[in-house]
Symmetry: C3
Subunit: 682 residues, 3 copies
């Protein structure tokens, strides 16, 4: 695997916004960066207005100076194309370059990202700026990587203006070719929606009631693609002018608006901005899940943690600091899950503007005057000892199916019940992590055969080809576990008839007659195998008819009197594989039990860890590496590993005690599996 960018060590750095400070500060910055071990900074992200103060009038003097200073200081640059937010003059020149909400409000400038992605004037100014940037800095020795735009879709992932409506129609024309095909796909025979001409079609703006669901779904697809087109606009110039410099754009984890599987294919390296809430129940899981997604987007390639907070952010209702040690812990989680570098937003806390209360490396009280700075310096030094990680590869035997199309479709209106995807995925992910599993996220169209176990918490929408891919995976010997309301609709969101889930009922050996959404606060008891008592399932139940499947769990009551004694969890041998179905939302322990059974059946080694133990096994040219982290902030964690050594190869005692928020990276024997691991609280 190529290292991108090509640095001798793991990346360490931050967003750097020198334009907010007088030049004398710049020199201090370089010295401090060196002290902290910084080797890469992201530069120029929001500099457009200062680089091009009037249309076509460029001023690069200050940036030239900063670039040279950084290079002289031995610090590489992740150079922004500077297009993240257009200058005020753009909105004056083109009032219709501002985006429009679903209610028809044209949004104002004064914040950031106030552009319509379809506006030709905006796009030509973007293209011109990128070309000038590329031509000017493409040969500068500091430049390591291009940072294209910034957090696409962070605030505006859908613009409902007339220009976007026009582009939507073009996108639909390309997708469907004929109006008949569109009418069929959208099911416009319903509610008198038949379109007689392309120009009759509109975005799903605020309407008297539910807009056509397929229209809404296509709108989400289009909106993601329309921003991707902006990205292509920039990268086309960069590929032409500076083909030697890799490109990235920073992602936002499980961002609802953008189908990152479609995006990542066009990057040289994936990068992530990650802001788990320190007040959340399990920040390491919230972050780790995003990290696993990033690694999965480009087939296991190491990725860059490009932004995070050294301590608190400024945009939640209550912005908690990262308690001492938490920042380091999360950095280790990132490295364990495949990061090739650790960066922050931002180098120096601003005096003014909307993000001045976002923590930074250099805090307001000044350099070398905060515990945060000390943590930053300490971690910079530690990072230099971890260079071997650059050659480690995280290897997962479990794949979790994730599909933006299905996410969008599931959360459309007019469903049996409001089911949100992410809580389901989080629950299943947490269960797998507790079972010691490293997991990839994989689209249903992906290479499924690489996994011993495929887990699909919910794939409400399964396009025909994707469903065939999943079925073929099982038939070919794969082990699948899927949850309720999966495989219900095709890519047009048409329900498969003949018994749910039409796309999977053969492989699952059952059909579902009826869904039974449960009211919040109500439960339905489920008896699992020979357990001593039923568990309390929530959210959803189903009337399941088995057709070959073995019943692993049974509804014993509840759910409107419609399921008593009916199957709740089933397994079915199908071809050379096996498919497990969970027709409800199980509580944590029960879900873990079902998944443990599936791992056993699939022959995947497993262990049951405390919830705050974060374990990841990697391959490495010098032998496997095991990351063991204690994500608990107050309690110690004890680990037993036979034959382990430290990263430098020095043998370790069998039993290690990890302080709160601390962890170790162990070299383990080649035959090691997580089943060999002893982990417990002392």
């Amino acid at each position: 695997m190529t290292r991108i960018p090509e640095l001798p060590h793991l990346i360490y750095g931050a967003d750097y916004n020198p334009e907010q400070w007088p030049a004398e500060v710049w020199r201090e910055d370089i010295t401090l960066m060196q002290e902290a071990g910084v080797n890469l900074v992201s530069l120029g992200i929001f500099s457009w207005a200062l680089l091009e103060r009037a249309p076509g009038e460029f001023d690069f003097a200050w940036l030239d100076e900063v670039m040279d200073l950084l290079h002289a200081g031995g610090i590489g640059v992740n150079l922004a194309t500077a297009t993240a937010s257009p200058p005020p003059w753009l909105a004056t020149l083109y009032p219709d370059s501002r985006p429009v909400t679903v209610d028809g409000v044209r949004l104002e400038i004064g914040g950031r990202q106030a552009y319509c992605p379809s506006h030709a004037g905006f796009r030509s100014h973007v293209e011109a700026l990128v070309r000038v940037m590329a031509e000017r800095y493409g040969t500068h020795p500091a430049v390591q990587v291009w940072h294209v735009n910034n957090e696409y879709g962070c605030h505006i992932d859908q613009c409902y203006c007339e220009l976007c409506a026009q582009k939507f129609r073009e996108w639909l024309r390309a997708r469907y070719v004929t109006l008949d095909a569109l009418n069929a796909a959208w099911g416009t025979a319903f509610w008198s929606q038949h379109y007689g001409a392309w120009e009759q079609i509109q975005p799903p703006r605020r309407a008297p009631t539910y807009a056509n669901p397929t229209q809404q779904l296509d709108w989400r697809r289009f909106s993601s693609d329309n921003l991707l087109e902006l990205y292509h606009l920039e990268t086309a110039v960069l590929r032409e002018v500076t083909p030697h410099i890799p490109v990235t754009t920073n992602f936002l984890g499980f961002l609802p608006g953008l189908d990152y599987f479609r995006w990542a294919a066009h990057e040289d390296v994936v990068s992530l901005d990650a802001y788990p809430d320190p007040l959340g129940a399990s920040p390491h899981l919230e972050a780790g899940m995003q990290f696993d997604l990033m690694r999965s987007l480009r087939g296991g390639q190491r990725w860059i943690l490009m932004e995070q907070a050294t301590s608190a952010v400024n945009w939640r209702t209550v912005n908690a600091p990262k308690a001492p040690g938490l920042a380091r812990l999360l950095n280790h989680v990132a490295l364990a899950h495949g990061a090739s570098g650790i960066m922050f937003f931002q180098w120096r806390a601003s005096k003014a503007g909307a993000e001045k209360y976002h923590s930074a490396l250099v805090q307001h009280p000044g350099p070398r005057r905060s515990r945060v700075w000390q943590e930053v310096v300490d971690f910079g030094a530690e990072l230099r000892t971890l260079t071997p990680l650059l050659d480690a590869r995280v290897s997962a035997r479990v794949g979790v199916v994730f599909d933006w199309n299905s996410w969008w479709a599931l959360e459309l209106d007019s469903k049996p019940s409001r089911v949100s995807l992410m809580p389901l995925v989080q629950a299943w992910y947490a269960a797998l992590r507790q079972l010691g599993q490293t997991v990839d996220f994989v689209p249903p169209s992906g290479d499924l055969g690489q996994y011993d176990l495929l887990v699909m918490p919910n794939s409400y929408l399964l396009a025909e080809g994707d469903a065939a891919n999943v079925r073929a995976y099982v038939e070919g010997g794969g082990h699948l576990v899927t949850g309720f309301y999966s495989g219900i609709v095709d890519e047009h969101e048409h329900v498969g008839l003949g018994g749910y889930p039409a796309a999977l009922r053969d492989v699952l050996g059952l059909w579902v007659e009826e869904w039974l959404p449960l009211a919040p606060g109500t439960v339905t008891p489920v008896q699992l195998g020979t357990a001593s008592q039923p568990v309390e399932a929530t959210t959803w139940a189903e009337v399941v008819h088995v057709d070959g499947a073995e019943v692993l769990g049974t509804f014993t009551d509840g759910a409107y009197g419609l399921v008593r004694g009916g199957p709740a969890v089933t397994a079915h041998a199908s071809g050379a594989g096996r498919a497990t179905y969970i027709a409800t939302h199980l509580p944590e322990d029960a879900l873990r039990d079902v998944l443990r059974g599936a791992l056993t059946a699939a022959g995947v080694p497993h262990v049951t860890l405390p919830v705050h133990a974060d374990v990841t096994l990697c391959t490495h040219p010098d032998g496997p590496l095991l990351h063991v982290l204690n994500a608990h902030g107050r309690e110690e964690l004890t680990v037993r590993v036979d034959g382990a050594a430290d990263l430098a190869g020095a043998p370790l005692r069998e039993e290690l005690t990890l302080a709160p928020y601390h962890g170790v990276i162990l070299r383990v024997p080649a035959t090691f599996t997580v089943a060999d691991l002893g982990v417990g609280q002392p």
Copy 2:
């Protein structure tokens, strides 16, 4: 009473949307309909876009075929005028034919009902379509009734566009004739609102603060009338072209936007779409109240239950199924309350579109493959045994005053407290049903003399003539019970002076000095007669001064120290009648006690039933019928009736045990009253 439509049996059927399916499915549909006992389907409701694919270009081939198939299959048609939702081309042709919200957002097409009722272009297309439909199908033998438009006002009951503003002004001009009259009625001397010209008047669009209340009230009246004008536009054509075919439009129960008393006069038969929430505390009461309203709208004439779900709907947050037996129970409630037919939305569950998860007769798993289908078939068979009900007439001795004008006025802003009408009506209705009473809903302008007891939970607004009507009812010997904050304002929402409630204080024998709204969660104790302890009243208290009335209940404390020892419940002999007043919101049992006392005084037989016993007495040419239903889903109900027989005349045992959700229809002796009924839980 004429049967409309003229079918030999009770109606059984559904909305039928064949345009969503290929022609081969149609034939299967006919067979299945016959199997289920269907004799009427609603057809073409959302077919406009497929009947008129471009302006003026009609294509009726598919509809012709379906009509002929249905007729050949012996199935009648409730034929829609197909105007429920205009095709997309209308909005392209006339962008301003779309409706506008109170905030000025012009709503988009893509859902349904996206039209402004005032738009001339829209209206001329509606009229043309209705004419073509009437001319083409007016002589088709399948047609039994016209289904005009669909659920008027369901999503858009008020459009704030400039065209509607213009029509509002015309409506006001017709109402007030002179600006002086309008200024006086609206009280524009307040807040500098005097109008000097008609064109200065606007709809109550989003304003800096409360719009003029009378303006708001007139706007609600206008908005109801403006949609009614659309209905007249269609029926004028139908009356002209097909005078022999009855017309209906499906109502939505207690819909806030439309004054159904004004509407129903222009129908040949009333029809209802009813969707009680299976998760609600008492779906049979929620539904029953709507059923009683429907029957009352046209003087006791039987009405059609035109839409309901076979099981779950798709538009609530959590859409519960109807538990086994609940659908049948609610059908029986409808029949008991005067339905002449039972129909559903929709025949076959859609594959696509916003209502695909609404339950149907033919569910997604396929025909004859669901418990829902079996229930449908079973009930179809049962229904054929109930044909005598077509000649039964529900007879009520109690009238509940209901007035959209008062509802609108009560729920305007800037009141002493936010009081919602429906919870009050529901509480009083439930109490009366528990006392074994069949009730009509009657407008205060109605024929009150037909009732032995008139109940007015709240009539905040009483127009002068209506107040006189109520007073005359009492003076003439009627018994009235009314609740707090009734009779306060006239039709212009002007407060009557001299002591509240000016319109009723003579008849009530009291005057109220001050209202005392109670904060949520606070109570005020009320001692009723010689009860052992006070009950806890909520919501509201009053400083009442009696002036002839007898005190039945007394506030003992609370309410800001202003009512201790003051009257809370009073009764007053007035002329030949008697008027009871309740100056607070009593808890369930206490309210029932007061109403029981009034029934006794009025000489109306009563009984106290369990809350889940639903009892309705009807007259019939062959002697009275008694519907007894057990609305409990888990417990049995025991009923004792002397001398009862079944519908066919076979004598029954005195004591009957009704299974959960089951009921009986009994022939009872001519002298039977509910006081003869023994009902209890075994």
Copy 3:
């Protein structure tokens, strides 16, 4: 101090809206006013539409008659300029004279105050009307004072239309002179916001995300100033035409939109509309705080309580009446805090319109027919006995810093936590009142030296000069107590670097490294001095480094493990003074303890009162006066004062027992301080 207006007694009266009633009622009104002791009415506030029925067509006949009637009846007039709400014809003439929301919705007429303050046409009509009014009535003997407009900014304190945008730019140009200065002040180097031309600048309309904070702050300043300009427009005419008549405009207490310190300088007398919620925990404190602000706005000058309810209002969700005695109590609170008169909204309850359910002196049941009327009459008589109060002067030894700029800045978005100012000020105010202190509110730019103790619950923003003023106060011997997150930013909302709070760290003898906002529901224990156990602080904690300060209280745990053992409360001798700092939000008792310590250190006499005892000491030419009020509605209060006499000079017993909601005004010895007071519950 001059009495304004020059009346022989304390003012007593109400808003009078005779245009809502026929002329025969006017005569009854005069009789009733005389009966109630009314000597001043506010007239014509919402009369524009009836005075000028079409542009330029005036009709004063009815007003002339009312003026003469009032004068003949011995009743003075607080004459409105009648501009509070323009007539409908204005919006017809100038559709763009209506205001626009942050979302771009142009608000509709039909309520009140639907004008854009920047609209030239509106302004010219205002100016013309004021001139006509002044010329016509300037010599009328009834006129005592001009009532300019009404409740500026009540509904619309910000208009986002294009005209206001243009005026905003002009205001900014005047403030910053150069674009460079604006760019520096706004920190536009952040997020690519650099402005290259004035016309690029917009109001902070709805944007994709947070608008520039300094832009938002300047927008609030501009919006206040823009309404103030409207006030100037009117007063310029009045000063020219009727220089002999004093002017006022009625304020709304702590209204977020208007910086009343800037406004009051341009009035002759301050007036207030006060509507404390009778359901609130302490209406007397809610009201008293507003009263103290009013008195402070013009250096202790007595002010007019111009509007309040006799009982209930009509605009809350639940509008509770004032329990018997509460209205009188609040009137006494007003007099104690410096009111020179007691007025109400409104004289006679309306029959129609949005305020008909607002209580009045003459209620709907009619004159002399309500307990409210009796209370009104009784208080009118009592008031005549209190004339000496006109020469009393409330004297405060404690100043509470209050600054609209800081309020606006604190409650902008993107902060460490959402902290609201008013709850903090209310908590500190209540503590000071319980300690027997009379307090002024003072801007940080004010004459601080007049106070022995200066209290600053929160001044997040401290302009440079203001910070210097505060520091000089302490250096010069003053005693300061300030709370967390004070002195953080300068007038441009730029953070002071080098350790928080940069503006105060020298005077406080400490610096803060990090803020630790606490999640709702979480607490952090604080050990104060030698207290037996820690108290539970909430909302906020800080990492404090002392640099000279003495530690009075210590965090013992919590707050993310970052403060254990760190300072929570400190005091620092600075120059001749002393500064106390509270780095968290203390519970009520603990806050009072810290403030008690500061009062002791400052040599200010104090006492600890029950929460419902309201005590105010005033100076008077005849010797000091002490107001003692019992704000409890159900319990008595016992007071011991040596050597007290009643207002007429008659000696009183040492121990007085005050009935619920009752109070006394005592003449006390010249040496009396609150420390001499014995107050307790019997």
